[in-house]
Symmetry: D2
Subunit: 299 residues, 4 copies
């Protein structure tokens, strides 16, 4: 594997530090980004610059994509200069973006037609975690392909969890995780509203909880935002939260699974967007909770 | 303080190990329990056995109560041989049970009338945490009284959080915490139902989440119960969960705070009780979620 | 029956026109109202003025109460000069106020102890319907007592429905009816918000629905209020709506019946009150729906 | 108009009686149905049988479609022998099926490109109402086209409501109406569950409500089904109800309108389908409500 160049497509806030980690771990990378300035940042590392997604791919090789959304994935994969045309039999497409379950299933089928493998490997974590190789990765797809990419995932993550070979399985996991985060935000926000309106310091409540029973990254991070009612700058915008919860509900509809908390979160986020707050961080779920309780909203 | 006997009322699954911790820390205890056999277990430790709650109290001293519910607190406090009759001016009632906010306010007023102080100090944690002195404690009440009891709380807990002097404040915090736990259960259960019906291993989902973003006691403990759909033996029965969430909503009504997640959880738990599952652990929230998704229920 | 005076307690917006109807139908009334000016309005009709509730009652006779709430019912019934002291064996208390189910059960037991009967007969309809004898009445209680009062209900109503002899049954029916009205308001409001934000005339939507599939008093009346977003003057204030929906949920808790629509309506009304809109008509449920959709609120 | 043949596509349970009404009113019809036996039923009436949708259309004429769903509408309109190819400039497509708002918008644009008009005219009512000319019709589209078709709608309906010229407006109205029906079912079901578990006759409750405040077709019809817990035979299957409420939520997402009752109804219907009850009438919403309350489910 070390003798072969890995294609890497998408050098955004997450992709760039991930590519760096791979290079530092000794992998040879052929990189592509829509705006080439981002790719240029990797020149000094010895990475090879590709002018198209296709050019980053070696037949039968491995290509990693880390792009913004379903449409971007479609373009770099299926477009005229897309990776699928060059990947060929035995090739592996390691898709690390967060996309719809249906998109994953469609991609899986299109790759299989050409003898290639499509792996879902969405990540949990933000840019600093990416830079530190501390992401968490959910992985699904064909066994042989998964074994082949594990050495690539090692320098990126502190944990890789295998979810079998059902197409799109890891995407469901990613969406379920995002749902759980949003539910935690609503839960903290309701507890804080109750506290504040009962004359209790909401920050003290969060400090106790996030320091004891809920002493974990999600409650510490979002607990602070909710306690301080600070919804900017946005690490993850409400409008994207709405998109993800809508994808959760689409997956739930397909799987025939009622998810009442998810339904409620969709209405919350839809309300935020309707009121013009779609660009606030999705911690702003707390803004709606506060408003409903007659509290002056944060910002 | 060390020269004075501390009254300790209520030697149940939580109270007994807590009393032991205090004795081991060098405090002299005068203990009372409704069924005296429990109190006898402390004889060898040098604790003095009181025949009534009142007998455990020294005028102007400190008495701790750790009883089952609002009614039991009423009896040991206001009954014919209750502690309030003996506590007198300067006395401190350190109430560690989980009771309604209104009960706390009423107790606060009754103690104040006699020049005594009523402190709310409900705990988070189960019997093993109590035995290890690893509880978390929310504290509210008069400042001077709080300073006086802090040395007693030290051997019981790994953390004490002060919530000011609003009567009942710490009870609101305890209820808010229990609400957050129930919300976490529902959230995990919905994510697991989605996973399972999408052909994904629910245990793997929980292992990933509870080992990364949600790496904290609540998600580890309840995550395992939900993943395995194991709702017995009950550490906290659904019927008690229903009682607590109803207390949350009562406090929310008083504070004029809509809490839609709490409302949904009340309906969940009410449904469990209506179907005859009130004695299952409240992890059985997952049972209802599973049933709604057409999955065979756990037990 | 016609030879015997009927006691009538409570001459408010509903009670006064009801008492008039009974007098016009040939019944002799002995009337009491807390503020005697209201009672004086009936002097010319030949009604006898009682100075206390008790004075309006003949032993073994029939007394009707139509008062504001549970507390008022308690006072006129159980107070020092209350009706219960005079009613005696064979007497019938026809209680037409909207009160809690628990209050009805308690009253039932207290009357039974004295050999008297307590009938629940809450009404649907507003003052104009009362004046026209067009109320709808739900009735529950002992069979013999019900037969005895039917001639009194005839001039008041266009329909009396018997709900058996379970204590408080008719009160549950009254609360269920008020719940159904609130649910209809929310339903119309959500449909109107969808229409308006889709560029459709909300009044045209309501006109179509309330003129066809939903051609009935509730949808016509509340449909107009929602369509026009007119929440004043209040015929039934939001704060009273909140009280009633809370009574519904209390009855539902006792009967172990999850009612998710009712839970949602409670949160809606709680939010209205929290924001200071408790004095608007409960049609203002639409105000909250509109706000959530980013529409400028009505008034 | 009377001198011109009207095309009529789709002779199902609704379309056949509607076509008959038009013929009886003196209109000349050219009819098409996928299975020609249905069309043959109209032979004796003088209707002309078309072998393809296209054959039923006269250039510049009027064609009515009344088909099962979006896909069927696509086929008869855009297929090789579809109506759009023949309709031409000045033609009017009167679309009376219940389809998605997006479908309506797309159709509107495709017709406009060819100088034809696409009118949305979904109907409220069941086959007996269609046979009696007692449907209610929501209408939207270009003014001139609407004026042209009004004489055709008269023999079909007891009321036509105009919703302007926003493409798809009448479809939103149809979906909003179906949402309101589903909300009424849930509301009646919750009230009945509360009544039954309180020892009260649910039929008596419904009789009172549907005979007074809610004396209208929806509450009479669905009230009876809920009261008797009779969910078969299905007049409108739960799986179709789920489809319609999902279309409502799709329209609500596009219009940025939170609809919490609709979200809850979606979860209800999704649960019914997940449990294998998708073929029961959507009155079976009551089945889920009953089950949650621990009542033995109806059938």
């Amino acid at each position: 594997m070390t003798s072969q160049a890995i294609g890497f497509i998408g050098l955004g806030n997450m992709g760039l530090p991930m590519a760096r980690r791979l290079i530092e771990a000794g992998h040879r990378l052929s990189v592509y980004n829509r705006s080439p300035e981002r790719a240029a940042l990797l020149l000094e590392t010895g990475a090879k610059l590709a002018r198209t997604p296709r050019e980053a791919v070696e037949p039968g090789g491995v290509v990693i994509t880390m792009v913004a959304d379903d449409r971007a994935l479609d373009q770099v994969t299926l477009g005229a200069d897309g990776v699928l045309g060059a990947l060929g039999a035995g090739g592996v497409h390691l898709s690390m973006s967060t996309v719809a379950v249906d998109t994953a299933k469609r991609m899986d089928a299109l790759h299989a037609e050409r003898g290639a493998s499509y792996l879902c490997a969405p990540v949990f974590g933000r840019p600093p975690a990416a830079a530190a190789g501390k992401l968490w990765i959910a992985l699904s797809g064909a066994e042989a392909a998964k074994r082949r990419v594990l050495p690539l995932l090692a320098p990126l993550s502190q944990g890789v969890k295998d979810f079998g070979d059902v197409p799109g399985a890891a995407n469901v996991v990613k969406l379920a995780g995002n749902f759980m985060i949003a539910a935690a935000i609503e839960s903290i926000a309701e507890a804080c509203a109750l506290a504040e309106k009962s004359g209790i310091d909401r920050r003290a409540l969060v400090e106790l909880m996030a320091g004891s029973l809920f002493d974990c990254p999600v409650y510490r991070l979002y607990g602070e935002g909710v306690a301080l009612r600070r919804y900017q700058p946005a690490a993850f915008r409400s409008v994207l939260g709405l998109k993800d919860i809508s994808l959760v509900l689409a997956a739930a509809a397909q799987a025939q699974t009622p998810m009442p908390f998810a339904s409620l979160l969709r209405d919350r986020l839809l309300g935020l967007v309707a009121k013009g707050h779609g660009d606030l961080d999705w911690t702003a779920i707390d803004r709606a909770v506060s408003e409903d309780a007659g509290l002056a909203p944060g910002a």
